[in-house]
Amino acid sequence: MSIFGTMKTAVAGMNAQANRLGTVGDNIANSSTVGYKRASTEFSSLVLPSGSSSYQSGGVTTNIRYSISEQGNLAYTTSSTDLAIQGNGFFVVQSANEQAYMTRAGAFQKDSEGYLVNSAGYKLMGYSYAAGAPAAVVNGFDGLVPIQIGQGGLTAQASTRGSFGANLNADAVVVGPLATPVTTLPSSNDPTAKYSDKSSLTAYDSLGRQVLYDFYYTKTDANKWEVTVYRQDQATPGTGFPYVDSTGTPLTSSLSDITLEFDPATGKLTTTPASITITDSTTSPQTIEIDLSTMTQFGAKFTPGKATIDGKAANAIKDVEIDKDGTVYAIYDDSSVEPLYRIPLATVASPDKLTIETGNAYSPGAASGVVIIGFPNQGNFGQIVDNAVEESNVDLAGELTSMIEAQRSYTANSKVFQTGADIMDVLINLKR
């Protein structure tokens, strides 16, 4: 039993409440900080051995805790590079000295060099698509590069595959050697060539130039159709045939032709594989495979259906879109879309024990466990929401009540101290 001990206990209590007030102050100050996770204090008693007839007052120790794993509200914004995480993951970011950190603060903006930088100055990192679709390195930050957009200039992509579906008229008149009178087929490139129907498709060569290909559909016999392909820019104006090369000499053959056969009973295609491969070396060697497997032959007029072909013209990045699975797509001027990076999410075994760094960033330490990296929508990493940021998880009302509690508690501790001091005063006054 000691008055000094009681006074020391009161000081410990006051210190503890000062710590608590400190966290409240920080929380309130950062209540509008994107990605801020609230700090709180928990106390535990410090007991001194005391007998059954005397009490040794101990003290209190403060434990600072961070609610890092607690999800904050999502606030929607109008910027497509504002990202929020719904779930357990963290963005991997890089500081100016190239140190990797984890953060939930996703208010990213493109800087002058094209990096996505958040309000604390950290660069967002991701895996590049430069060498094909990336895979995550599970247990470390290796292979991650800062995401940089819009530095590529113009890019073009040559067409390699496409598809075309149509109904060819089963009742069309037969053309070619079996017709009366005999006519020539488009594959002969004869000026008098006849065909049943024609359509055309836009493709791109390796330099991104638009090339139009003419597709001729010719019924050569019952249930048999010849598909012939030519480059439209080699056509004779008006009639098409003959197609000529750059010197004006008629071509000896078409770019490609194929005979399609149909089942007379069902009208479905029986030829396999039903694709035509265009080999065009007019400007630069290029091979395009067009899938014709959805062709039908019913007793209805020629009805072209969906036609697609890949590749794109040379153009610059117009915009960037970030998908829920973390893929960063570049949107080009001609509306084509291409993946550039994939944003991974990181997590640790105990997120609440992460080491706190300035700028709402965290780094894994011994207490938290090692970092685990994966992609959004996988495991428990959560998903990425664009056009949104995660608000701080501070509740003002809770902080204010906590503040009042701390104040009262502090006052009570000071009363204990003062009472101890008064008692000491009495004790000292015993001897005059």
Partner: protein
């Protein structure tokens, strides 16, 4: 739920109500715009509990397609109808006063009169003047019909130019739609523009639409020719400045495929191009053949020397009589009254305009030939089937049947035109019921929005008071 998240919710209400109000005001501003499709802002809750609003555009593809078809049909029918109206006015309007049939009737009456008074020189001169009237009528009709063809050609050229322009504008609108859709922006204004261009393209040529990724579309003509796929296809046409009966018009090529002419009075045309081709290559040339056959009938009736040499009427300077039942293209334009007959009308009586006189004694009452001419008008003769009407008829009947042919085409085209216009207005109405703006709806929605905005302000002030109360205890 904490107070700050309640505040957040109130803010979301402000945002959403603001977006909804701007949608409503945009709808109101475009209530009179036929090309505008109503927008609706829908507020929904995301997986994460936040409320977001998305604006959707009223679309109905089925009705849109139906409306486009109706536009194409109507535009084609109106092109045919206006050309037929033009041809009818060439014939003198309601009573066909200027038609060759009327002048043939007058000529025949004069011949009849001359046959009864062959000595009367004044009546003889009357025959010549009636013959000249008939020739003028044929010449004029022929050149006017060719003018109708040339006009159709000119219109085709203008329409082809317009189509090329529309297609390049279509590319711009379509690119905007695909880009905005790909980047998750607002493609609605571009969609409006694209739909309005589609309506204009449909007036020129019937289209069928195939959708692709990112709201991209491929346009084919109703015949299946590619019209637009990533880039517009070339539509080419070479105009002929002058048309005669033997001129063949040039084809219109879309992506290298010739456009087919439409058929029948209730035309199969989708869009004005096939209809104008039908006028240029079918209706007007058929009528021209009928005029040529009338001209050939006249030369045949008045042929001299037993039908071996042309008489009162001849083909320009040539005096040969055309073969029976065979069309001579352009004869109606080149038929003339023989110069010999003009200088001396009694040569018609004597059969010596170009041939040997049948009246060697120069009897002033010689009427054998005139009687024969008079009767020839009533006896049936062979006509070329290419003229599209009866092959064995008297000349008078043939010429009036020619008018009936034109009139029946015109009346069935008029009837078809009325029903297609009715269909167009019905389908446009159905489409606009689906996509148009209803001011009543918008106004009532605006009242709702006002209420929810006010409720949100109440919410904010309540939260504010609560926080204030909390702060007051802390002081």
């Amino acid at each position: 739920m904490s107070l700050s998240s309640a505040m957040n919710t109130a803010q979301a209400i402000f945002n959403n109500t603001g977006t909804q109000t701007s949608t409503v005001s945009k709808n109101m501003a475009n209530s009179g715009n036929a090309d505008y499709a109503k927008r609706t802002t829908i507020v929904s809750t995301t997986l994460f509990g936040a409320q977001v609003s998305t604006t959707v555009r009223a679309q109905n593809e089925v009705l849109m397609r139906q409306n486009l078809t109706a536009i194409s049909q109507n535009s084609g029918q109106q092109s045919v109808l206006s050309a037929l109206g033009d041809m009818r006015s060439v014939m003198g309007g309601t009573n066909y006063e200027m038609s060759p049939a009327k002048y043939l009737e007058a000529l025949r009456n004069k011949i009849h009169e001359y046959a009864t008074r062959p000595s009367d020189q004044v009546v003889g001169a009357g025959v010549i003047s009636a013959a000249q009237d008939a020739v003028t009528a044929l010449n004029t009709a022929s050149s006017e019909i060719q003018r109708v063809r040339a006009d159709a050609d000119k219109q085709i050229e203008a329409q082809v130019d317009k189509l090329n322009n529309l297609l390049s504008e279509f590319k711009a609108a379509n690119d905007m739609v695909t880009t905005e859709t790909a980047r998750g922006g607002d493609p609605n204004d571009a969609l409006d523009r694209r739909d309005s261009l589609l309506k204009q393209i449909s007036e020129i040529v019937g289209v069928s639409i195939v959708n692709r990724e990112n709201n991209d579309v491929v346009l084919y003509t109703s015949d299946g020719t590619t019209l637009f796929e990533t880039s517009p296809r070339k539509v080419t046409f070479q105009r002929n400045l002058f048309y005669s009966a033997s001129t063949t018009g040039n084809a219109i090529y879309i992506d290298g495929v010739a456009v087919d002419a439409a058929k029948s009075a209730n035309t199969t045309a989708l869009g004005s191009l096939p209809a104008l081709l039908q006028v240029r290559d079918d209706i007007a040339p058929t009528f021209q053949s009928q005029l040529d056959e009338i001209a050939r009938g006249l030369i045949t009736i008045f042929a001299e020397n037993g039908g071996t040499i042309a008489g009162l009427f001849q083909n320009g300077t040539s005096t040969t009589v055309p073969a029976a039942g065979t069309l001579v293209p352009g004869l109606a334009a080149s038929i003339v009254v023989a110069p010999n007959a003009i200088t001396n009308p009694s040569k018609v009586r004597d059969g010596s305009v170009n041939g040997t006189t049948q009246n060697p004694d120069n009897n002033s009452s010689f009427s054998t030939l005139l009687d024969k001419y008079d009767q020839a008008f009533d006896s049936s003769m062979a006509f070329d089937a290419a003229a599209g009407i009866d092959v064995q008829k008297t000349l008078i009947t043939f010429s009036s049947n020619s008018l009936s042919w034109l009139e029946s085409l015109r009346s069935s085209a008029t009837a078809a035109g009325e029903s297609k216009t009715a269909l167009l207005s019905r389908s446009a109405e159905a489409y606009s019921n689906m996509t148009g703006v209803s001011l009543d709806e918008e106004l009532s929605l605006m009242l709702d929005l006002e209420q929810s905005y006010k409720a949100a302000t109440k919410l904010v002030s309540a939260i504010d008071e609560m926080l204030q109360a909390l702060l007051n205890i802390a002081s």
